[in-house]
Symmetry: C2
Subunit: 234 residues, 2 copies
């Protein structure tokens, strides 16, 4: 953008990681457009959380894009497949990769493509996404080599890239553990009580299941820091 | 997919190029899912054309994905900017690239990402898109290096790619002139009378303007072959 301000698009799910990512982008001096997706989630708790997080952290706008990933099938997050519970917490391992049932085909590619379109239309070159190390043990589209490849593609795909301004996909959490992410976010003033992580919350009360992969990772992160999870207290 | 049949996803706009691409994919032995996008076009003529083309060429299904690219702004195809008329026909030149006003930010990236998600959910590894040489004189996302980069990214993004099955983005028209495309399509039985190319048709009658870039390219192609355009006759 012309002028002194620098702007970024930040993918925001309403979860712990993307809330931290938004706080980091703001801390790095960007005015942020938060972008969330309504894609047939089992409930809208996470979109509500995203709205609250965007407001609390001072995003200049919160864009919600409606897409229907259910048409693609094949995932516990969008179909009626049971979310796995009480599994061992995923570990960092890139080889011998097993893909969780909660993986949604090409999800991050579609999300990043929308962010790219939005960014290009506004002359923005910086996009933030909160993928991290623990996630990429199972999700192909959370690995550093995928992000690098998307960035290379984005610079060939767009007017901005062709004109020589470099589009950058920022992944500030990629090498962090959940505890490190939480610690960083607390230092930046993130209110984790606003965030929701559960893959399978109670549809009526919104209370997390505390047993899916995402709940377990979150609990282990707070536990490692010796800090209570504010969403568990309230 | 298991079994003997091979399947592909073919992006189908209702225009001349994508209709030819669908015919080529079928001729190469693929059972084809045609995929079109409703993205705030000025009229729905091209989606109707896509439906007719998909049926006429025997696609096994025609998937229409609704997306709203108008939110991104910046293009004559989706905004109220006047479509340029009677310009010199674009020539093949990769350097000194100028981006036409009709370029939509990240459009092909979003389209291919949806095709990728659809393909992955069904175990399909082949995706066809009808980009061609004349187009890439102005559109960054119609160039061979962009397509190669998207393919590389797709193989890192997906379960299919990680499991070692190679995802391929087919661009059978990429080196062809409009006349060569039409000649090829006629040989494969494409009824070009079903296709629409105009960026700015009469909203009531659907009659093409015959003066936008797309109309001019189409007319020049039929003219070079000495064949009347069936959509001009009817």
């Amino acid at each position: 953008m012309p002028g002194e301000s620098k702007q970024a698009v930040v993918l925001l799910s309403g979860g712990l990681d993307s809330a931290t990512t938004l706080a980091i982008a703001q801390d790095q001096g960007f005015e942020c457009f938060a972008m969330s997706f309504a894609y047939g989630q089992k409930c809208h708790l996470e979109l509500d959380a995203a709205k609250h997080v965007a407001r609390a952290l001072g995003a200049i706008d919160h864009v919600i894009v409606s897409i229907d990933l259910r048409a693609f099938g094949g995932s516990a997050l969008t179909d009626d497949i049971d979310v796995p519970k009480d599994r061992p917490i995923p570990q960092l391992h890139d080889s011998d990769m097993t893909i969780p049932i909660t993986y949604v085909p090409a999800r991050n590619t579609i999300f990043l493509s929308y962010a790219l379109g939005f960014a290009e239309a506004r002359g923005i070159t910086d996009i933030y996404i909160g993928v991290n190390a623990l996630d990429y043990s199972g999700y192909p589209d959370c690995r550093p080599q995928y992000i690098a490849s998307f960035e290379a593609m984005a610079n060939l795909a767009t007017k901005i890239g062709v004109e020589g301004r470099h589009i950058r996909i920022h992944t500030p959490l990629i090498d962090l553990t959940k505890a490190q992410i939480i610690n960083l976010g607390i230092g930046l003033g993130v209110d984790y009580g606003l965030t929701v992580s559960c893959y399978d919350p109670n549809p009526k009360t919104g209370v997390p299941c505390w047993h899916c992969d995402s709940c377990q990772l979150r609990a282990a992160g707070f536990s490692e820091l010796g800090i209570p999870d504010p969403s568990k207290i309230s």
